[in-house]
Amino acid sequence: MFFKLIHNENIKTSFRLSTWIMLGLLVVVVLLNTFVGGYKQPADGQADLKKGIEKNTAILNDKEVDEDTKETVQKEIAKSEYLLTHNIKPYTIHTYLNDEQGAIIFFSAFFGIIIAANSVASEFSTGTIKLLLIRPIHRLKILLSKYVSALISTAFLLLLGVLLSLIAGGLLLGFEGITAPHAVMQGDHLVKETFLYTWGKNFLLSLILPFFVITFTFMISTVFRSNGLAIGLSMAAYFGSNIATIFMLKYTWVKYTPFVHTEYLSSGEALIKGMTTSFSSIVLGAYFILFLAIAMITFKKRDVAI
């Protein structure tokens, strides 16, 4: 029964015009980046690395360059040398896929927010909620099917973006780079890792914030029955969270706000001292449960009078 409910929700999403606009937009953005991004696989990567080192060494010796830049340059040199000594070939598709990753997550999160915001609110604004809730099905099942369906739709968009950029990137820059090794920082030293593995891991970790915000959107949509409010607040949370968090860093209670933890879990960057994976998971888990509980309680108790 639950799968049938999810199926129903998926059908509703797939028949909305806005879904197709979003889908089209995602495809256009991914392909636009592919073909006008100016990506080109170098003829001889090793030679380019050597040239790069020479150029960067010159910058290091320049007295007018500030310390910060020198530090970045130092790191670049170290990486290039590591690649040369371990005989790792540099691939442009790595840069390409990293760029695409940001775009895909950005658009999918945006679409996920819109889908989650519409899911409950639009049933109220069009009055269709009445014929939905007079079926012999518990209200919470209906609500959860909507939540799961919103996540599935978002996952579908993500998957579409990933496949599209892997195929388009592979056709443009060659497929071999995808599974080739590259160098990544682990702690304070470089290690060799398969690119697809690193990329996939980063991708999944970067989904923590969208997942969290979409759940938040879903709660707002359920509680206030307004898709505009849900979209507005969620966009503010998604894009403004980092700035807001930076302003709150001086207070001790910042460790209970969600966005220091989404940042820590996805990028490993600790904005405050004493961050641990388990503490961050607990705080985010608590928010997650709180959001769903609020949505479920209000939906269960609501008197439908439209």
């Binding site: 409910l5 059908i11 007079i134 518990h138």
Partner: protein
């Protein structure tokens, strides 16, 4: 007497400290068309919303086929098909896709959908998007979704809204047939009293959250109150009025459209006529005005 399918016991609804429904108690039986009447804001729709679980019950209970809507919602509502106010459907889906949505939730088969589409006469438009439908077509689609799972109780809020005269008649006949042949209890709420008079077997009148009357339609219209207005076409009018007022001081007397109107029992018509003739009044015609549901409704709700 059949066993009641819907039992409403001391039903109350409080919204923000204000009692909207103040203790309704009545039963509805299989095979009857029950009309739910009342002025705007009396609480008809609120009661219907509680019957289908859209709104919570503040006190009392509603049971459908023995299952409480509060404690056993899924089982209770499984027997109910309803349209609450407008039949709002997904406009970006076709009529058929809408029905498929509901069919998945109640486990109705494809052949049942086709059967019901034929029944409500939407075969030609069922694959068009609902946004292209007229209000009458949406009512038909609403009826289709309500009947999809073969309910024992059919609740229709203002079902004739948007239907043309032929459609109204068709619906009326169809509802009566459902009640007679399939033993479904049909609950209809409407403002159209002439329509209700033709459609319903029994009516319940609700006013300001209270049940004013639950009665058989015929009894209600013609029942306890035997007096009906009778118009006497007489001449001279003033003389007749004076005599009548003296002779029958307890009757209601009025002059309307050049006729003398008396509210009297049927048996008294002959007595009044002969009295008038004996007092030198010329009598040209006598008309007994039958009461309609509308007259009775206004009488009852005006109290």
């Amino acid at each position: 007497m059949k066993k009641a399918i819907v039992q409403i016991k001391d039903l109350k609804k409080v919204i923000r400290g204000k009692e909207i429904i103040k203790g309704l108690t009545f039963d509805i039986y299989p095979g009857e068309v029950f009309g739910f009447l009342g002025p705007n804001g009396a609480g008809k729709t609120t009661t219907i919303r509680m019957m289908v679980g859209l709104t919570s019950v503040s006190a009392g209970d509603i049971t459908i086929d023995g299952n409480s809507i509060q404690k056993n919602f899924e089982k209770a509502v499984a027997k109910v098909g309803a349209i609450v106010e407008n039949p709002d459907m997904y406009k970006f889906l076709s009529g058929y896709q809408n029905l498929k949505q509901y069919a998945r939730m109640v486990g109705a088969t494809e052949s049942r959908i086709n059967e019901i589409v034929k029944l409500v006469g939407l075969e030609n438009a069922i694959h068009n998007k609902v946004k292209t439908y007229s209000l009458g077509m949406r009512q038909r689609l609403g009826l289709a979704q309500a009947l999809l799972h073969q309910p024992s109780v059919l609740i229709l809020d203002e079902p004739t809204n948007g239907l043309d005269p032929a459609g109204i008649r068709e619906l009326r006949d169809y509802l009566r047939k459902l009640a007679r042949e399939e033993d479904i209890a049909v609950i209809v709420s409407s403002h159209l009293l002439s329509e209700m008079e033709l459609m319903c077997d029994r009516i319940g009148i609700i006013e300001q959250g209270k049940l004013v009357k639950v009665e058989d339609m015929n009894e209600f219209i013609h029942g306890d109150n035997q007096e009906t207005p009778v118009i006497f076409q007489v001449e001279p009018l003033d003389l007749a009025e004076r005599h009548v007022r003296e002779q029958f001081p307890n009757s209601k007397v009025a002059i309307k459209d050049n006729g003398l109107v008396l509210s009297i029992n049927r048996e008294d018509i002959s007595e009044v006529s002969s009295f008038l003739l004996h007092n030198g009044v010329r009598l040209y015609g006598i008309q007994s005005k039958a009461k309609s549901l509308e007259d009775r409704f206004l009488e009852v709700t005006a109290q």
